[in-house]
């Protein structure tokens, strides 16, 4: 028996997020940032830069990356990894788009 189950939760519509933008989803103490790219792909990761916990949801989204508003670290939305010479990673969450509804998977 696996006690940790993954649940897909509907969190809203694609149109709730501006293209090249992000919105936040609150999950208990954790804030999850949900990103929409210019070509309508959707990604989710913890709203915390690995550098100094900057709110990534407030950054500029470009291609498949976001630039943190505090000190300009660039985080890859697909892997959560810091780009360039910086090292660090942000926790990512599985996300899927069915029609226009966005689901994210959270373990309980």
């Amino acid at each position: 028996m696996n006690l940790i189950a993954q649940n897909w939760v509907a969190i809203g519509s694609l149109h709730d997020i501006p293209p090249q933008g992000a919105r936040c989803v609150e999950n208990g103490d954790t804030t999850i940032a949900v990103f929409r790219t210019h070509d309508d792909r959707v990604f989710a990761m913890e709203d915390k830069c690995p550098h100094k916990n900057g709110p990534l949801s407030q950054g500029i989204v470009h291609d498949n990356c976001v630039t943190c508003p505090l000190h300009n670290w660039v985080i890859n939305l697909e892997t959560g990894l810091a780009q360039g010479a910086d090292e660090g990673a942000t926790v990512t969450f599985p996300v899927k788009l069915e029609g226009e509804t966005i689901y994210i998977a959270v373990s309980f």
Binding site: N7, V9, I11, G12, D16, I17, P18, P19, Q20, G21, R23, C24, V25, E26, N27, G28, T31, V34, H38, D39, K52, N53, G54, P55, Q58, G59, I60, V61, H62, D63, C65, T67, P69, L70, N72, V74, G84, A85, G88, V106, F108
Partner: protein, 814 residues
């Protein structure tokens, strides 16, 4: 089971030793560090830039907490070790932590020497060794006044320069007849003293301190000859001594420092000493380069190697902006010594080499130090220079007949020649990193090798190495591209946007062949500004290309909350406005309220979701956004002028308010701050602003291109005009010229330097048609720009920005 390695001290030397150790043998040791200071490892060489305000503490951290975590290092901060028990093999700290070791490294550094004159224990007598000292100095320097620095050595002069930059009057007292006598000969010392005096630092040589004056804090000093100097702070920078007491108490052999052999081992085979506390072959070192060399040796020994440290020849550079000074070796005169001297009085250049048996044993360079590392290398190697003696002093480029180009000079350096003294990076390390990681820019080389990443004085050498390694692929003189998405520079992009009538970001990227699909966080905000500026009526602002502050019209803070600054026209306010602000602060539990440098009130720590409600309440009292977040017009600071002041010559407040009401809402390449002073006493500090006005009896003197941030620069005068209307027209025209030509994030003083102040005066002061055209374009653009962003958002615009998209609950998923 890993062996236990305990390190006493957390300075740069053990930090570097651990880096080497973890690279060569990760996991070999279970490491515990005791740090008497309550913090992580930071770059002590860079304390001077922190003191002068050119860098912040965060900029000089070498290892952050995450680094210690990643390497499983236990770091006890604020824990001073008071006892070593060599029989039990344990160390114990003042706060009662006892840890056992297999190998122990003592790296306790050094202690500043405090001259025991009467008054030396008064508050305000400081040393200059660590960040605590710097913080104390900064704290006192806030009150301005005068600082007295005792000791004109390297540290003393850097402290003096830093305190001067902080706005204090500074007097340096030195016992010897010339300053920095251990590193400089009298000729170079004279040039340096002159340069420092020109920077406003008073230097008194041959001065012996008799006592420090004051009853419960420093009030001044008295010299042996009876002179007294008033002051609020005394910095003692007269020397250091190795901190060896702990080792001595434990029965380890101690001379001046803790005695170590060529393997950095003390008289106890399990105990090593490293850094300023160690004495190797009778020498104690206080500079970073030799400490890094010995750190490498110790790391090798700890993993079972047999590396040996053979001592170092050291060189010195002074970190005072704009002064180039290099000194190395021994330069005293002597019967068996010869010297070669080159002087160029008009350019302030002085070079002197000291030779003994056809070898360089000392070098002093002032004014032009590019050949320092070459001379230093010849000296360390003991190269016979008799073949090039006639041209030696001219430097490396003049050797071998025809002048060599600088590239060849760098090519000729051996692989182990040190390029970056601060970080101990040699030529081969830079070259192999460039090749193996495929680096092409200076920033990348800095990120990966740390070369030229500290004081930056070797940047030229690093660039030459890049040229050498990459060949044509590296071209530093080429136009710097906007970012990695394009080859084009800012000016080309601006020109092409106009020439090709490009009116959207995708159009720019397509037509100018952007290399990425949708740009990056560097180019998109720049393009958005250029398009807003060039096509005010047609371009639709792209909020997703704006930095968060301009997207939500508030300033993001380090914890993700925001600060809000309402506009107070010309810095004037009223009881009604203040009451409204007080009510908002209470209603939203705003934790901090502060006056800004631009005469506004800043409310800090507001949650993002509260912003629209805060703005709604402020809006009801008549407030609009102060745009304290904008690359645009920020504030117009004023004095009370002829309305109130007995010296005021014109209505400076009125002109300031008029300018602000005319110009608010306009976007500019970088922030734009104005000030209007009612008389030349200049209470509004107009002469360090982007644009300033000094009112005089005969009219209005317009100033521009000042700076009081990373750089400090007084303004230049644009010209004198007679009426307030003319002042407004000239200032607006100047702003528009800057709007149209400035590169994104380029402040007005940098733009003016690039364009030429005379050219700007010619277009704004002398060419009435041009001025009118600039003015008209600004006025047209304002039609679309003067919309209060706060009231827009209170009425619902961009509401998605301020609310979470969803709030998940556990039961919702089941």
């Amino acid at each position: 089971m890993s062996e236990k390695l305990v390190i006493i001290g957390n300075g740069m030397a053990p930090g570097r030793m651990l880096e080497e150790l973890f690279e060569k043998a990760p996991g070999l040791y279970d490491v515990t560090i005791f740090n008497a200071e309550p913090r992580v490892n930071y770059d002590r060489i860079m304390l001077s830039p922190v003191l002068s305000g050119e860098k912040a503490y965060d900029d000089i951290i070498i290892h952050d907490d995450a680094w210690y975590g990643a390497h499983n290092v236990t770091l006890h901060k604020g824990a001073k070790v008071t006892q070593i028990d060599r029989h039990a093999k344990t160390v114990t700290s003042a706060n009662g932590i006892t840890v056992a070791y297999d190998k122990l490294v003592i790296a306790t550094g050094s202690l500043p020497f405090i001259i025991p004159v009467p008054g030396h224990q008064l508050p305000g007598v400081l040393a200059y060794r660590d960040l605590d000292d710097v913080e104390k100095m900064l704290d006192i320097s806030k009150g301005k006044g005068r600082a007295i620095v005792i000791g004109a050595g390297l540290l003393g002069l850097e402290a003096a320069y830093g305190l001067k930059r902080q706005g204090m009057e500074v007097t340096v007292i030195h016992l010897m007849p010339t300053i920095m006598e251990r590193q400089l000969d009298p000729a170079a010392a004279y040039l340096l003293e002159k340069a420092l005096t020109e920077r406003g630092i008073e230097i008194i040589t041959k001065a012996n301190t008799k006592q420090i004056l004051g009853t419960d804090k420093v009030e001044g000093i008295e010299l042996e000859d009876g002179r007294t100097i008033e002051g609020d702070m005394v910095v003692m920078a007269v020397g250091i001594r190795p901190a060896s007491a702990l080792a001595k108490d434990a029965g380890i052999a101690v001379n001046r420092g803790i005695v170590v052999d060529d393997g950095m081992q003390t008289s106890d085979a399990s105990v090593f000493a490293l850094g300023e506390c160690a004495e190797h072959r009778g020498q104690c070192y206080g500079l970073v380069a030799p400490l890094y060399e010995s750190a490498r040796v110790l790391a090798d020994r700890l993993i079972g190697g047999s590396a040996e440290y053979h001592g170092s020849v050291v060189n010195t550079k002074l970190k005072v902006t704009g002064i180039n000074l290099f000194s190395a070796g021994d330069f005293a005169e002597g019967p068996d010594r010869e010297e070669i001297v080159l002087r160029d009085a008009s350019s302030g250049i002085y070079k002197r080499l000291i030779l003994k048996e056809n070898k360089i044993i000392g070098a002093v360079l002032y004014g032009e130090t590019g050949d320092g590392s070459w001379f230093f290398d010849l000296m360390k190697r003991g190269t016979d220079i008799s073949q090039m003696r006639d041209t030696l002093i001219f430097g490396q480029s003049y050797q071998g007949g025809a002048p060599l180009d600088p590239m060849a000079a760098v090519a000729a350096l051996p692989d182990d020649a040190e390029i970056c003294g601060c970080n101990g990076v040699c030529k081969s390390k830079i070259v192999t990193t460039i090749t193996s990681k495929g680096l092409t820019s200076l920033d990348e080389v800095r990120a990966h090798t740390k070369a030229s990443a500290s004081c930056g004085s070797c940047t030229g050498l690093v660039e030459q190495l890049m040229g050498l390694t990459l060949g044509d692929a590296y071209n530093p003189s080429a136009v710097t591209p906007m970012c990695t998405c394009t080859e084009l520079g800012h000016d080309d992009v601006r020109r092409l946007i106009k020439a090709k009538s490009l009116k959207t970001i995708p159009a720019v990227m397509q037509e100018l062949e952007w290399k990425t699909s949708c740009g990056c966080a560097k180019c998109r905000p720049a393009l958005n500004y250029y398009l807003v500026c060039d096509w005010p009526d047609e371009y639709a602002d792209d909020y997703q290309s704006r930095f968060i502050n301009e997207r939500v019209h508030a300033n993001i803070q380090k914890d993700g909350t925001y600060s809000v600054v309402p506009r107070m026209w010309g810095g004037m306010t009223s009881s009604k406005e203040l009451r409204a602000i007080a009510d908002v602060v209470d209603k939203f539990n705003i934790p901090a309220v502060k006056c800004t440098g631009g005469q506004r009130i800043d409310m800090l720590g507001i949650k993002k979701e509260d912003l629209p409600a805060v703005w709604a309440d402020l809006g009801k009292a008549g407030f609009v956004s102060g745009q304290a977040y904008a690359k645009g017009l920020r504030t117009v600071k004023t004095c009370v002028g002829s309305d109130w002041c007995r010296f005021g010559t014109q209505d400076s407040t009125g002109l300031g308010i008029r300018l602000e009401k005319f110009m608010w809402g306009s976007w500019t390449p970088a922030k734009l701050k104005l000030a209007v002073s009612g008389c030349p006493r200049n209470c509004a500090e107009a002469t360090c602003k982007d644009i300033g006005v000094i009112c005089v009896d005969s009219g209005f003197e317009i100033h521009f291109a000042g700076a009081a941030g990373l750089d400090i620069k007084g303004t230049d005068v644009l010209g004198l005009v007679k009426t307030e209307d003319e002042a407004l027209e000239h200032i607006v025209a100047l702003t528009q010229m800057y709007r149209e030509q400035g590169r994104y994030l380029e402040r007005i003083y940098k733009w003016a330097k690039r364009i030429g102040h005379d050219e700007i005066r010619r277009q704004i002061m002398e060419d009435a048609d041009k001025r009118k055209a600039y003015f008209d374009r600004f006025v047209f653009s304002q039609k679309f720009a003067q919309v209060d962003p706060w009231s827009e958002r209170v009425s619902g615009k961009d509401k998605h920005e301020f609310k979470p998209m969803a709030i998940m609950r556990k039961e919702a998923a089941e």
